[in-house]
């Protein structure tokens, strides 16, 4: 593995594991399920990256058969979706056309670009998850939710994830700093930013 790839992945693992521990402690302190789910999401994303890095370091190539790292990352996105679903409990839900259109566009791009590996099944699952996160986040913003910043960051996170795979199609040299790493670093920091935003929501609730 080349230098910058290692730095980028280690940065992601460190930030997300710290965020996971912090979210876990805060979940227990505030007895809050959203923070606990966020902690699980951070743990899953970090585990996916840890597996990917370890595989490259120990075996020398990236996983070839079952895409375990992608399954772990997908689990993280399912937990983000769970956190968004949790926020809709008790809210009156009507179909929103702009939210539906945004979700359909994002899901189509993610699926056609084969995000999360060549497997159609995993790509379809991620596309559905990303689309659902987009739909719920846009709906919350439209419905005048009090905590729009968190929805806004959730949209940024899911768009950065899809953008990361789009950029990777055009990236061939992973040895030095590239747009790919800028997007990945932005994704890591955006995911970490969800913690203070969720905490603020929990404190104000």
């Amino acid at each position: 593995m080349e230098n910058f790839e290692l730095i980028d992945n280690l940065f992601q693992i460190t930030v997300l594991l710290c965020a996971c521990v912090a979210a876990g402690i805060l979940a227990i302190r505030h007895r809050n399920r959203s923070l606990l789910i966020l902690s699980l999401a951070y743990a899953c994303f970090a585990m996916g990256t840890i597996y990917y890095v370890l595989y490259l370091v120990i075996i020398g190539i990236w996983p070839q058969v079952f895409y375990v790292a992608e399954i772990s990352w997908l689990a993280a996105w399912l937990f983000y979706l769970s956190a968004q679903i949790l926020r809709t409990e008790g809210m009156k839900c009507r179909f929103s056309l702009p939210a539906g259109a945004a979700a359909a566009c994002l899901a189509a791009v993610a699926f056609l670009d084969h995000d999360f590996g060549p497997s159609y099944f995993v790509s379809a699952l991620f596309s559905l998850t990303a689309g659902a996160i987009m739909y719920l986040s846009v709906s919350h913003i439209q419905n005048g939710s009090l905590y729009r910043k968190r929805d806004f960051f959730m949209i940024i996170c899911v768009m950065l994830q899809v953008l990361l795979y789009l950029v990777s199609d055009f990236t061939h040299d992973y040895t030095r700093f590239q747009l790919y790493y800028a997007v990945d670093l932005a994704l890591t920091l955006s995911m970490a930013a969800l913690l203070p935003l969720t905490l603020r929501e929990v404190k104000q609730a």
Binding site: A27, I28, R31, N32, R33, L36, I37, L40, A43, C44, M47, G48, I50, Y51, L54, Y55, I58, I59, P63, Q64, V65, F66, V68, A69, I71, S72, L74, A75, A76, L78, F79, L81, S82, I85, L86, E89, T129
Partner: protein
């Protein structure tokens, strides 16, 4: 050749017979223990099928195929219990842990028949770490399904998420123990350390009366 089905019968039959004479929680524990062993046997078949399908060796299978098959197979009886019998939330973690213990026990027995039982120190470390890994996955599945993700859509996304988390965790363990040197040591140590942390948390949290409702 390992006659894995014969070994399973030898281990499971006394447990099954005991169920005619015991009641309540002990009976349920014995049942889930046996189910865990059966699931281990079935997941060995499924892993072998995918090994042949993709034409990979044992090492690649252990780090890429086995964690996926084993975790999916372990979750199925738990989901069956949850959806069909609709147990109280407090009953789920015990069931998940019993399945995990049965699975780990049968896996250890199979390991012994293939590799011998001469090296006491190694088997002690392996027994603890493999047991800790499966129990941690069981705790995550049991508590997650019953307490954190209980309602409608949350149950669907949460359950699949938990499955993914267990697969990732299991795969990291398998990857580390198939390597050499410091990676192997780390692989054997980290599930036990995490289980220790979980036990410490379990001792501390009830005093604070924590719930995530």
């Amino acid at each position: 050749m390992t006659y894995i089905e014969n070994i399973f019968l030898c281990l499971a039959l006394p447990l099954i017979l005991s169920m005619f004479f015991i009641k309540g929680r002990v009976r349920r524990y014995a049942l889930f223990l046996t189910v865990g062993m059966a699931v281990c046997l079935l997941s060995a078949y499924v892993s072998s099928f995918f090994m042949g399908q993709y034409g990979v060796d044992g090492t690649v299978a252990a780090i890429e195929i086995t964690p996926v098959c084993e975790e999916v197979m372990k979750l199925l009886p738990l989901l069956f219990f949850y959806l069909i019998f609709e147990p109280e939330p407090k009953e789920m973690p015990a069931a998940a842990i019993a399945i995990a213990v049965g699975f780990a026990t049968f896996e250890n027995v199979c390991y012994l028949t293939e590799n011998g039982a001469a090296n006491f120190n190694f088997l002690l470390i392996r027994g603890i770490s493999a047991g800790a890994l499966h129990i941690l996955c069981g705790v995550l599945s049991g508590f997650g399904v019953s307490y954190v993700f209980r309602r409608r859509w949350l149950a669907a996304t949460g359950t699949v998420g938990i499955l993914g988390a267990c697969i990732g965790f299991h795969a990291i363990y398998n990857l580390l123990i198939t390597a050499d040197g410091v990676w192997k040591t780390a692989g054997y140590l980290f599930p036990s350390l995490l289980l220790l942390c979980l036990y410490a948390a379990k001792q501390l949290l009830p005093r604070q009366n924590i719930s995530f409702e």
